[in-house]
């Protein structure tokens, strides 16, 4: 099933699918589907083709003079060459943020699923609750926390982890921290759903058979939480690598990710062919990463 099918759903038996009982039911599912599917087709699928076409426009055109579709495949290598650093930076930052998020998110999901007892639901709400505030307002709050005059920077300077004029804001650290923070709940929720189903007796059995806690974790807990881990990783990595809000608000142009470039290509420089080519490259790169990752992780059920 889909990645998001791992979001907690509550138990209960799955309803059997009744075969179409009579002729008048045969059209019903299509009627139910038609409006939604048409909407998704018109405003999700068709635009992707439009974007593909735009990425092959003659790059010498402009919004005012109009674009001609000249199958200019050269747009792709050109865009890639011009913005290679931002591209690699996107995946580097998203990757580091993912590792940090795993280090924080796994214990959190595990504790809620296995250790929280009757506090489980409350803690789960606590994981989602930060997302109730606007994404941008939350990110701006990090500007206050990491501020040069703030307590955190002061503390780090006092213990000499930062130089006397060292700073956190407007550095890669701030951007990675922001990415980690903003997408952490997307990682925790599917992980929680997997870990919640983990039968505690399996761990007891492992320890009865003289497995150390570390070994029991590696051989029992980790493999059984794999579906949630894979789903959570993807739900974290896909938006994180395409994000540009954190880089814009917490970083400087030196920390710009590919999203910043695409944003300015479409909205500032009005270079549609280049922006479209970069968008497509981003999607292709993400799909490639996802595909390789799923093959490695060996869980077919995720897609």
């Amino acid at each position: 099933m889909s990645v998001l099918a791992h979001v907690p759903t509550g138990s209960g038996q799955s309803a059997p699918l009744p075969a179409a009982r009579s002729g008048r039911y045969r059209l019903l599912p299509y009627l139910l589907l038609l409006p939604g599917a048409a909407w998704l087709f018109l405003f999700f699928a068709v635009p992707l083709f439009q974007l593909a076409a735009a990425s092959l426009y003659d790059p010498s055109g402009s919004l005012s003079t109009g674009y001609a579709l000249t199958w200019a495949f050269g747009n792709y290598p050109e865009a890639l060459q011009a913005y290679w650093p931002q591209f690699t930076r996107s995946f580097l930052y998203a990757g580091i943020a993912l590792v940090l998020a795993l280090l924080m998110g796994y214990p959190l999901a595990y504790a809620i699923a296995q250790k929280a007892g009757r506090w489980k639901n409350l803690l789960l709400v606590c994981v989602i609750a930060p997302m109730f505030t606007s994404f941008l307002v939350r990110t701006l709050a990090w500007k206050t926390i990491l501020s040069d005059n703030g307590a955190l920077v002061g503390l780090l300077r006092d213990v000499h982890l930062l130089g006397a004029d060292g700073r956190l804001l407007a550095t890669p650290v701030a951007v990675v921290l922001g990415l980690t923070y903003n997408f952490l709940p997307f990682l925790v929720l599917p992980l929680y759903a997997s870990l919640e189903r983990l039968d505690h007796r399996l761990l007891e059995a492992a320890s009865d058979l003289y497995a150390s806690p570390v070994r029991a974790f590696r051989k029992v807990t980790l493999p059984l939480s794999m579906p949630g881990l894979v789903a959570g990783t993807l739900l974290f990595f896909i938006p994180a690598s395409g994000d540009y809000i954190n880089a814009e608000l917490l970083g400087t142009p030196n920390e710009y990710m590919i999203g910043n470039v695409i944003d300015s290509a479409f909205l500032v420089r009005l270079d549609y062919p280049q922006g479209a080519a970069l968008s497509f490259l981003l999607m292709a790169a993400i799909l490639a990463v996802v595909f390789v990752y799923l093959r490695r992780a060996g869980t077919d059920e995720v897609l």
């Binding site: 889909s2 209960g12 909407w39 076409a53 803690l123 109730f132 606007s134 005059n149 320890s207 395409g242």
Partner: protein, 266 residues
């Protein structure tokens, strides 16, 4: 020995979990704190002086409140449309067997796996090539698009977990199909539909990336914050942020109460 180490392992995991929760809530606390701040200058993000002015006059900068109202309008329209479209699709997918099912599933899954950036730019490419004027309605179209999939997934989960025998019992007791739907099916699915609608509204209200590409000169609340971040943020932004947090929290707590009651008798 194992008992001691297990005791330690238990506390260790819970300790880390609480620290991580602290990390998640730190910015919320800062937002709430800054909503009582009188900043020293327009571009300062540091706490300066306690004041209640921001809460007394949340609309002191009137364009911010206009943006909030516009976001609520867009969120409301997009939520109603996406909830209706998505619920119909969920019923078709759970209750019927038909050709083209896997194709529809892919069409629903893909928008959730596609980076927002790609959806935003591709819609922009479509609107521009079609000569559509960007504004309020293009934002609504975009929001309905990315909300539908989440509605389908949420309602589907509720429908799939439903006990079909309740409907069969109603039919055995001579309820016709409409009565069964109205009296049995709908009340049982309703919590799922409400949850889906709340999710859709919060996705719509908070969306920045897709909106940014398709808004033209129309300003939603996230667009306003984005613009203001360059010129200096009015402290009232934090009032809105705090109020959103409190309202959403109350809604979630309220909507979880009847759900718990419905689950109990079994």
């Amino acid at each position: 020995m194992t008992r001691i180490s297990r005791w330690l392992a238990d506390r260790w995991v819970m300790g880390v979990a609480l620290l991580v929760l602290g990390y998640l809530f730190l910015p919320i606390a800062v937002v709430a704190g800054l909503s009582f701040n009188r900043p020293s200058s327009r571009l300062s993000y540091d706490f300066n002086e306690f004041t209640l002015d921001n809460w007394r006059q949340p609309c002191a900068t009137s364009d911010m409140c206009e943006a909030v109202v516009r976001s609520v309008q867009i969120g409301f329209i997009a939520t109603v449309a996406a909830t209706v479209l998505g619920t119909l699709m969920a019923f078709a997918l759970v209750r019927h067997r038909f050709r083209g099912r896997s194709g529809v599933n892919v069409l629903i899954f893909l928008p959730m796996a596609t980076p927002e950036l790609v959806m935003g730019t591709s819609l922009l490419a479509l609107f521009v090539s079609g000569g559509v004027q960007l504004g309020f309605w293009t934002i609504v179209i975009a929001h309905v698009m990315f909300c539908v999939s989440f509605v389908v997934v949420t309602v589907k989960a509720r429908l799939a977990g439903m006990d079909r025998r309740l409907e069969e019992a109603a039919m055995d007791l001579y309820a016709n199909e409409w009565q069964t739907f109205r009296r049995i099916t709908l009340p049982l699915v309703l919590p799922g539909i409400v949850a889906a609608a709340l999710l859709a509204f919060s996705l719509s209200f908070d969306d920045f990336i897709i909106t940014n590409f398709n808004s033209g000169t129309t300003v939603t609340f996230p667009m306003y914050v984005w613009g203001a971040a360059q010129r200096g943020i009015p402290p009232q932004v934090n009032v809105i942020g705090t109020a959103m947090f409190v309202i959403a929290l109350l809604l979630v707590l309220a909507s979880s109460l009847p759900g718990r009651r419905a689950k109990r008798p079994s």
